[in-house]
């Protein structure tokens, strides 16, 4: 244990689709310390994306029971924008297109919101342009992405790279990457993974939600967890991912209770 307080502590988390919808998380427990990379794997419908949404504060999911502590503080009591300015970042599985919103302005707005919340100096247009220039090589992005509208007309790979660029700008303590590898070709996967690795440090942690072992070849996890039916059913080190690749998830699931939930 490097720090006294874990970066993220999820205790007996129960969550369902808002307004009395389907129950998805059923007593999930997870502790993430600074310096660790946790991979969350699991079959479709096991609750992986729901967990990401709960942590980011998406209004479509409602927490019915349990606690989430971020740096020892109640994360669920914070508004989504407060979570972001406190250092929690969600890289979207399907990044949203914002036609009419300039990418650079958007990044600057986000950066300044975080600076302001932390009582740090904000950057003007020129200052931010300089700052941004240093971040672009991380995701091998060209300048012209910045002049376009946020994700509008971007390819799948460009959208994911733009997510990591936002991560680079916001420099979060806890990053949740929700299937960031999906829809990426091998080159793009390498670029994205390299970007993430460069952003990782001993005072940060990453929650890596993924279907495939391949991403873990690039971003090495400290722990691998299998999520099924809204709970973590087994945990292990990197070798667990290889075992899953070989055997699938079936051997971990009680068949009679297998559920298909698409969220």
């Amino acid at each position: 244990m490097k720090n006294q307080t874990p970066l993220l502590q999820i205790i007996n988390l129960h969550a369902q689709v808002a307004n009395g919808g389907q129950k998805i998380l059923n007593g999930l427990n997870l502790t993430v310390n600074a310096g660790e990379v946790h991979a969350i794997m699991g079959p479709n419908g096991s609750g992986k994306s729901t967990l990401s949404k709960v942590l980011a504060g998406h209004p479509s999911i409602e927490v019915t029971e349990g606690e989430v502590l971020y740096k020892g503080q109640n994360l669920l009591g914070l508004e989504p924008n407060e979570r972001a300015t406190a250092g929690v970042f969600l890289a979207f599985q399907y990044p949203i297109e914002l036609p009419g919103v300039n990418n650079t302005s958007f990044l600057r707005m986000a950066y300044n919101a975080k600076q302001k919340a932390n009582e740090l100096p904000e950057l003007d247009e020129a200052g931010f342009a300089e700052f941004l220039k240093t971040k672009l090589p991380l995701v091998e992005m060209k300048d012209d992405y910045l002049h376009r509208c946020v994700n509008a007309g971007f390819s799948g790979g460009e959208k994911k790279r733009n997510e990591i660029l936002q991560m680079a700008v916001l420099n979060p303590c806890l990053s949740i990457l929700d299937e960031t590898d999906s829809g990426l070709d091998i080159d793009a996967l390498r670029i994205v993974a390299n970007g993430v690795n460069q952003l990782m440090s001993q005072d940060k942690a990453i929650l890596l939600v993924t279907h495939y072992q391949r991403l873990l070849d690039y971003i090495e996890p400290t722990f691998v967890h299998v999520l099924a039916q809204g709970q973590i059913v087994t945990s292990g080190d990197k070798s667990l991912a290889l075992e899953l690749e070989e055997k699938g998830y079936d051997w971990l699931l009680p068949h009679s209770q297998q559920v298909e939930v698409a969220v």
């Binding site: 998406h58 009419g100 919103v101 919101a113 916001l170």
Partner: protein
Amino acid sequence: MTMTLTPPAPETTPAYEPSSLDVASLLGVNLTTELSPFEACLDPMLQAIIANKNADFSALSLLKSHSAERFMALGLPNRKHQEAWKFIDLKPLVSKPLPAVQSKLEPCRLPYRLEKALKLPVTLTVCNGAFPKDASPKAAAPWMLFSQLEASVQTAFQQLLTEKTTQESDPFCVLGQALAEDIWTLDLPANTTLEKPLVVYVNQSQTSMAFPQWAVLLAENASATVVVSCSSDAQLQAYIQACATVELAKGATLNWVYLVNHTSENIVQLLNTRATVHEKAYFNLFAVNASNGALLRHSMEVRLVGQEANATLNGITLATGKTSVHNHVRLTHDAENCQSSQIFKAVVGDEAKSEFDGSIFVTTNGQQTDAKQLSKNMLLSNKAKAFARPWLNIDADDVKCSHGTTVGQLDEQQLFYLVSRGISPDEARDVLTLAFVVDLLSQLENVAGVEALKAECLALFQEKLAR
């Protein structure tokens, strides 16, 4: 060609008959025997104008009396029977009497901000409906400034305006012309290009009625850009009836930008734009409205009468509070190979109301027409209302016409995306609202000299959303 003005034979002044039925239905009270306060206030003014016709045969007096008679023939609109007025509540106008136009020129707060944004001086200031009397055309380039009707080459304008008045079906349009102190004209000779936009500033600083009128004649291949900015001081009450009559000869180009931004909630502004576009001429209208006024109606009637004539009509409305904004378009394709495009966007918040009523008429002459019309609306609150009524009326058989409308709200997923990056929900809403109109605002960048208006409008919208 010149037209001689012959004094008309003396005739009896027609008695003014109040359109009592309409007013009663508008006010919801029984007024069958009484004039509405608005009409009671107009009545003596119109009578005086008609009486003045025989005493003074100036071009303006004749036109005014002709318009007054036309108004009396048309009467106030009836919401029940006239489709165009169905969604317009004239109560803020007809229920309160207002003082007549002030001929005295009051010192106006100058639109420093607009001047600064455009880096251009204001060409013409209209204050409380009164035009400056001393703004004489410069000798070197007489067309460089607007001039008064009496001072300009009268015949062409008088002929044009008289003809238009006879055909006009909008009572308020002719009323404005009847009560106007003067009509300001821009007469651009052939092959002349105005390098810089003309900036007209219409300011209201006291409670009154105001009737600014413009007539613009561009000869062959002439081109000009006019920016009209309308604003008013806080809380005052006013009725502004403005009209721009435009005639574009072969190959002429006119860019006309309206920027309406009244601070006061008690302003009724009825705006009329009438344009006739001849062969290969281009009329480009851009109307931005961020007014707080009670009612704003912009009636646009454009006729494409020569081959390959082209018209673009764009409008952006940001309506909040209890504002009611109406954009009415009648665009006629009356010649072959003409093009037209209309895009109207409205953002409606609070208890505001926005209406788009647009018709494209293609006559049997309008073969090979290419006409597009789009109305997009965004509602920001549960009490906001948007009405969209796109019409097509096609009598030719070889045309390309499209029309469409959308009404929506801010996208929850987009909002969450912004918020998940640390941006506050309020700021996120503003960002997405501005994003909705920004692509249309970008079209201002295509008009030389007014590029800076895009940023100015965005700033204006931002301020208004923040209020």
